[in-house]
């Protein structure tokens, strides 16, 4: 409960500060650069969630503990949500700086690829009736899919050049002053906190649903 309240305050302060306390970065039209505080954290959370889901799948395949699969499933679902948000916010940014919502920039290609992989992951989950089998298959598929990601991250960007701003708005680069950096990190922290909170809710929900189903079968 206290976590929820703190998170609400933290997020509200971050959002207000992102609009009120920071000057728009030079080199971008209008207020566009403020998307940094919303787009990058969602993309970061999506990556984190998918990675966590893959690790949880591995843990499930080794130990066969149901809780690991609950974590893998919840994490994948939340990752999908955040990945979708990152796609939409990125697309808005693309429209106002590059002129079109979608132009198959390598970043856009790889994010669509991720959406497709996890879309297929949920389809697979829904298509296997047996619980045990469903968990194993989902885990296997998520590991298999993870092995193709390096190809898209490292090879596709070499075939075509990217317009994605990295040097201009990179937290490690010189293009960001201290105030922006602090707010950016605080936003990352807020979104990660949001993810953790949602993840715990989702895992709890899956556990309760599983228990209820068990009761139903017994009766």
């Amino acid at each position: 409960m206290i976590f929820k309240i703190l998170l609400t305050i933290w997020m509200s302060v971050t959002i207000f500060a992102a609009f009120l306390c920071i000057e728009p970065a030079a080199g971008f039209p209008g207020e566009v650069s403020r998307i940094l505080f919303f787009h990058v954290p969602t993309a970061w959370v999506a990556t984190l969630a998918f990675f966590l889901s893959m690790i949880a799948s591995c843990v499930y395949l080794i130990t066969r503990k149901v809780n690991a699969d609950f974590l893998a499933q919840s994490s994948a679902e939340l990752g999908f949500l955040f990945c979708f948000l990152a796609t939409v916010t990125g697309s808005i940014f693309a429209k106002s700086t590059w002129g079109s919502f979608w132009n198959w920039d390598p970043r856009q290609t790889s994010i669509v690829m991720l959406l497709m992989i996890y879309g297929a992951y949920f389809v697979l989950r829904s298509a296997v009736p047996d619980h045990e089998k469903r968990r194993v298959f989902a885990g296997v598929y998520s590991i298999l899919a993870f092995c193709t990601v390096p190809f898209l991250v490292f090879i596709v960007p070499r075939i075509t050049s990217s317009l994605h701003p990295e040097d201009t708005l990179n937290p490690a680069g010189s293009g960001m002053d201290t105030k922006t950096l602090i707010l950016f990190l605080s936003s990352l922290f807020a979104y990660t906190g949001l993810f953790v909170w949602m993840l715990r809710l989702k895992v709890r929900m899956l556990k309760i649903m599983d228990k209820e189903q068990g009761v139903k079968f017994k009766v």
Binding site: L61, M113, M116, I117, G119, A120, V123, L124, A127, V128, P129, E132, K133, V136, F137, G139, V140, Y141, I143, L144, A145, C147, T148, F151, L152, I155, V156, I159
Partner: protein, 240 residues
């Protein structure tokens, strides 16, 4: 397939190795395929229908000379990939439908089953490419500047297709709604391979030099990675 016939081919003996078991399964699948011709017919008819549709609607002179290498590579790979997706799942689905899956589980080690099925799928893909690629080249007036590089791209691309889809076929054979599921699950895994293969074919048809064959190497790396990971993961889904 008749159980006594199949029994003779998949019996595990003490001295059998992974490779002999895999070859036995491969030969048994080829033999059963020769009898029914289900997979090969469906894949080839799908490919030929698509090729005819493409050739009929585009013809060989509709696309500008400068655009051809890229667009033809795209069309060729779309035909190949979707034909493969239409039939490659048969290798495992037919075991499930005939009820021979359990016997296969008892008679051979999982990795050998995977390799046997992979060999079978690669045979199907080889047959598909042998017929469709020359037909495409003839019908579309596809001029290829570096035939060696082009052939290598076709071979490694085909192996990559087989490598990326065989494990998925084993999974969907045990799921509901098999047909649609196979394409939905395979396509995201194949996307990096398809992008690479299209680039490689374009380079072979048009590029200034084919030096180094970078796309061929990427496709080969993809195939090796997918086969290795599949070999490691296959026992998990097979012994469920």
């Amino acid at each position: 397939m008749h159980p006594t016939k199949s029994g003779r081919w998949i019996t595990q003996t003490v001295s059998s190795t992974y490779l002999t078991e895999a070859v036995a399964i491969w030969l048994r699948d080829l033999r059963s395929e020769f009898r029914t011709r289900y997979a090969v017919n469906s894949i080839l008819m799908f490919a030929l229908t698509t090729l005819v549709a493409v050739s009929f609607s585009i013809g060989s002179f509709r696309i500008e000379e400068s655009e051809r290498p890229f667009l033809y590579a795209v069309l060729l790979w779309i035909i190949l990939v979707f034909s493969a997706l239409s039939g490659l799942s048969r290798s495992f689905v037919k075991e499930q439908e005939a009820g021979t899956m359990d016997i296969l589980k008892l008679s051979a080690r999982p990795q050998a089953v995977f390799l046997g099925k992979l060999f079978f799928n690669l045979t199907m893909l080889g047959a598909l490419e042998l017929i469709i690629v020359p037909a495409f080249i003839l019908l579309m007036e596809y001029k290829i500047r570096f035939p060696g590089c082009f052939a290598a791209m076709m071979v490694t691309g085909g192996i990559g297709l087989g490598a990326g889809t065989t494990l998925v076929a084993a999974m969907i054979a045990q799921a509901d709604a098999r047909g649609a599921l196979f394409s939905a699950l395979s396509f995201p895994l194949l996307l990096p391979l398809i992008i690479t293969a299209i680039k490689g074919s374009e380079r072979a048809a048009y590029g200034i030099s084919a030096a180094g064959w970078p796309e061929v190497k990427i496709a080969a790396a993809y195939a090796v990675i997918m086969i290795t990971v599949s070999l490691l993961l296959f026992p998990l889904i097979w012994e469920e």
